[in-house]
């Protein structure tokens, strides 16, 4: 008779074995990802990003350590409030803004395995510690510990306790927020709406500083800060800061009260997180569900649209792709709303650096310098998506290969669409600038416009090649976890630096030679050359598209 007894223990693997298995799984996913050629190139991009990130983390480690040392040695314990608040805010806000550096891994998928709830909870928490913001936060808090030890070693036990509790609180809070966010964002429409609101809030936040300066004019900055901090005292970063202040000033009761309050936060947040994870563990369904069928009378085509074809002057293929691109743009709430950002930021910069009362420079930057700089900034912001212009095609990319169309037409349609967006944004920004700071002199205006043509046409050919060679699928209508491939980001960065350098030298050449029209003449020649180069490159790019079709289809169809 066959032996049917399981060879494993009756209770299955323990919690720590399960955590070890998941850690091994993540490592294998990352390792297998690196075997793909494009991903290996991505790793090169990531290495560069990691170098910058390390410099950022280490630099701030030093700053936080020095801040803690200075605060203790000078008896300025109130500074700890600022230190804990900056770390806490970064820890909670950063994950919302950027994708993690790690390999994509949905830890909820582990639910299919016989995982105990305790293991699921611990893995969920550990997942939070693997986040970039968490690593930064933990490093900076440890630096604070080191700074305190160097200044006054006797304070270390109390500060270490506060740091441990603060790390625990932040991980729990971050996981809780992520978990709720995941639930909220499970539906496409809610997701797009929330991201739109989020973008608007981010842009609005940029205007906070001018507003604060305006309303606190005359008051000392520290007084305003103290006033603000008093409202925030019941919150965890203030409690952590208060605990350190109390420890430094030898107020044991105050220290215990603050630590106790911090612990209460941890207990409450843990209970809420436990509840959320329990719902997930029970099999909460967050998948995209079909929209309910609405009974709408379907109009016959003859009655449906009698409008004239807006792209009638183009070939059917070009018109079809442009029409599709417009529909994709209009339905991608996140991208659509993000188009508001560049003109708004130009408006913000105009209040900071130019206009009647610049809040940062205090001296007005001349329109002849400010206008080209702002246009350069717009190109920098708006051209980056062109380097991954197939990002949202997903499996639909196959249509371009099965249809009887040369790929040059696909690229042309995509570039036309991008150029139309650029023109719209530039016109809006120019209108705003003309109201706020006035237009530059005619030679500079002409030179800037021609420089834009040169920079955009020149970049399209390179961007198309990069988009075909290093594609990266992006989730439509989503923001979290979105980034282009590492190589494309670095090429875009390099090309834009190069073009910005060329344009700056040519613009300044007009001043050095005292010939104001020289830059316009030079840019006119460059614009013609780059346009000619772009159209000449389209056929070669069609061949690249044919050669790269397998990578493109495979990457975008994942």
């Amino acid at each position: 008779m066959a032996d049917v007894t399981p060879k494993t223990e009756t209770g299955g693997p323990g919690v720590f074995t399960q955590i070890r298995l998941v850690a091994g799984l993540r490592w294998r996913i990352l390792r297998n990802l690196m075997r793909v050629r494009n991903s290996r190139l991505d790793i090169v991009g990531l290495i560069f990003a990691a170098i910058f990130a390390s410099a950022f983390v280490i630099g701030l480690c030093w700053l936080f350590g020095w801040g803690a040392y200075f605060s203790v040695s000078k008896g300025r314990f109130d500074w700890f409030l600022l230190l804990f608040w900056s770390i806490g805010l970064f820890w909670q806000a950063f994950p919302l803004f950027v994708a993690g550096f790690g390999a994509p891994f949905e830890f909820r998928t582990l639910l299919r395995f016989p995982l105990r709830f305790s293991a699921f909870y611990l893995i969920g928490l550990a997942y939070g510690l693997a986040d970039f913001a968490a690593v930064c936060g933990a490093c900076w808090l440890l630096s604070i510990g080191v700074g305190v030890s160097l200044a006054r070693l006797t304070l270390l036990p109390q500060v270490a306790l506060v740091i441990v509790l603060f790390i625990w609180m932040n991980i729990t809070l971050e996981r809780l927020l992520s978990s709720w966010l995941e639930r909220l964002l499970a539906r496409r429409r809610t997701r797009e709406l929330l991201f739109g609101v989020f973008i608007l809030l981010s842009v609005s936040a940029q205007f906070l500083r001018p507003a604060i300066i305006h309303y606190t004019e005359g008051a000392h900055a520290s007084v305003s800060l103290q006033r603000l901090v008093s409202y925030l005292s019941p919150l965890p970063p203030s409690l952590a800061g208060s605990a350190v202040i109390a420890a430094g000033e030898g107020q044991s009761l105050q220290f215990l009260t603050s630590v106790g309050a911090l612990l209460i936060y941890i207990v409450i947040l843990s209970a809420l997180l436990w509840q959320r994870f329990a719902a997930q563990y029970r099999g909460e369904e967050l998948s995209e569900t079909s929209a309910p069928v609405t009974s709408v009378t379907y109009s016959s085509p003859s009655a449906m649209e009698r409008k004239s074809d807006p792209f009638g002057f183009l070939s059917p293929q070009l018109g079809a792709i442009l029409s599709k691109e417009i529909k994709y743009l209009v339905r991608n709430g996140f991208v659509l709303i993000s188009l508001l950002m560049p003109p708004l930021l130009v408006l913000l910069f105009s209040s900071q650096f130019s206009g009647k009362h610049p809040s940062v420079t205090h001296t007005r930057i001349a329109s002849d310098t400010f206008f080209p700089a702002m246009m350069g900034y717009l190109i920098l912001m708006l051209m980056t998506p062109a380097y991954n212009c197939f990002a949202y095609e997903s499996k639909g990319i196959r249509n371009y290969y099965t249809a009887p169309v040369r790929f040059r037409e696909v690229l042309l349609a995509k570039n036309l669409m991008h150029a139309a967006i650029l023109v719209f944004e530039i016109v809006v920004a120019t209108t705003l600038l003309s109201i706020r700071v006035g237009l530059p002199s005619s030679p500079v205006l002409a030179a800037t416009i021609l420089a834009l043509v040169f920079a955009v046409a020149g970049q399209f050919a390179i961007a198309d090649w990069v988009a075909l060679s290093f594609p990266r699928k992006l989730e439509y209508g989503s923001m979290r976890g979105q980034r282009g491939s590492g190589v494309s980001v670095w090429i875009a960065f390099g090309v834009q630096i190069l073009l910005a350098g060329i344009c700056t030298i040519i613009l300044f050449a007009g001043r050095w030679t005292k010939n104001p029209w020289l830059p316009a003449e030079a840019f006119a020649a460059l614009a013609v050359a780059s346009l000619a180069g772009y159209f000449a490159a389209l056929d070669s790019l069609s061949n690249v598209a044919e050669k790269k079709k397998e990578v493109l289809i495979e990457t975008l169809s994942k």
Binding site: A2, D3, V4, R188, E288, S290, A291, V293, T294, S295, V296, Y298, S300, P301, M304, E305, D309, G312, P316, Q317, G319, A320, I321, S323, K324, K327, Y328, R331, N332, Y392, E393, S394, K395, G396, I397, R398, N399, Y401, T402, A403, P404, V405, R406, Y476, E546, K549, E550, I553, S557
Partner: protein
């Protein structure tokens, strides 16, 4: 002399050390309903991808309707319709918008594309959700839409990779009638499916690929005649398939080894 609608000569595709398709020579006459069969990983989808321009062959030649695919891919693509593996739909368009898009990509004028889209949506029973984007469609609805998109320009050859997977019985019946009518009008249909009963019912000719090599090709009767039978009863396609691919008792003996499962 009538040139075959689909002709491949030593068609080969390798992925590194793996030869997915190994020198296959296919010949499909115009107007045939042709079934292309094989076990998982045999090379069916790789072949269909090469025949539709989604994958470049490592070596060999493809001629469709007498035209060399490599020499004039755009003209060849104008004559064919495809339902690829995974369907390849633009999920953020509505069904009507997608069909219009595909129609225009195949060069139809705006009015014709719109009229045909409307007719196809009604035929596929997809017309009651004009405002839903494809991402909100069920799998079966997406499949029907992909089929509609494949025929909107009136192709002379239709390549269908698992076309009936996930399609309800009602729609499947209508689709089979449609495909049968198309072949009567001279359209060549090249179909892959794991459901052998469907292939047996629809297809007049069949090819079987196994481990990248073409192991059988011909009409169903020719394949039946080629298999020795102990009794006089006609062989089913499943029996022919298992006999040729040689998996007869393998699965059962493997299962017997997994004694701990029972």
């Amino acid at each position: 002399m009538n040139e075959p609608a689909i002709l491949t000569e030593n068609l080969t595709r390798t992925f590194g050390a793996l030869t997915a398709v190994d020198g296959i020579n296919l010949s499909v006459t115009a107007g045939q309903f042709f079934g292309f069969l094989g076990p998982n990983g045999a090379g069916k989808s790789t072949t269909i991808k090469m025949l539709t321009g989604l994958l470049s062959p490592t070596s060999g030649r493809i001629r469709l309707l007498g035209m060399d695919f490599g020499a004039d891919p755009v003209e060849v693509k104008r004559q064919i319709g495809v339902v690829p593996e995974g369907m390849g739909l633009f999920e953020r368009l509505t069904g009507a918008e997608y069909l219009n898009f595909v129609g225009r990509m195949y060069g139809l004028d705006r009015e014709t594309a719109r009229r045909r889209s409307d007719e196809l949506l009604h035929f596929m029973q997809l017309a009651d959700r004009p405002k839903s984007v494809i991402a909100d469609y069920s799998h079966g609805m997406q499949k029907k839409l992909a089929l509609a998109a494949a025929v909107i320009h009136g192709p002379r050859i239709l390549f269908l990779d698992e076309p009936f997977e996930g399609v309800d019985a009602l729609a499947a019946g209508a689709l089979k009638s449609l495909l049968a009518r198309m072949t009567e009008r001279g359209v060549t249909i090249f179909l892959t499916s794991h459901v052998l009963e469907i292939v047996e019912r629809l297809c007049s000719h069949v090819a079987i690929i196994h481990k990248g090599r073409l192991v059988a090709q011909g009409s169903l009767d020719e394949l039946r005649a080629g298999i020795s039978s102990d009794d006089s009863s006609p062989r089913t396609l499943e029996q022919i398939f298992l006999s040729i691919v040689g998996q007869g008792g393998a699965a059962r003996s493997q299962l017997e080894e997994l004694s701990w499962l029972t």
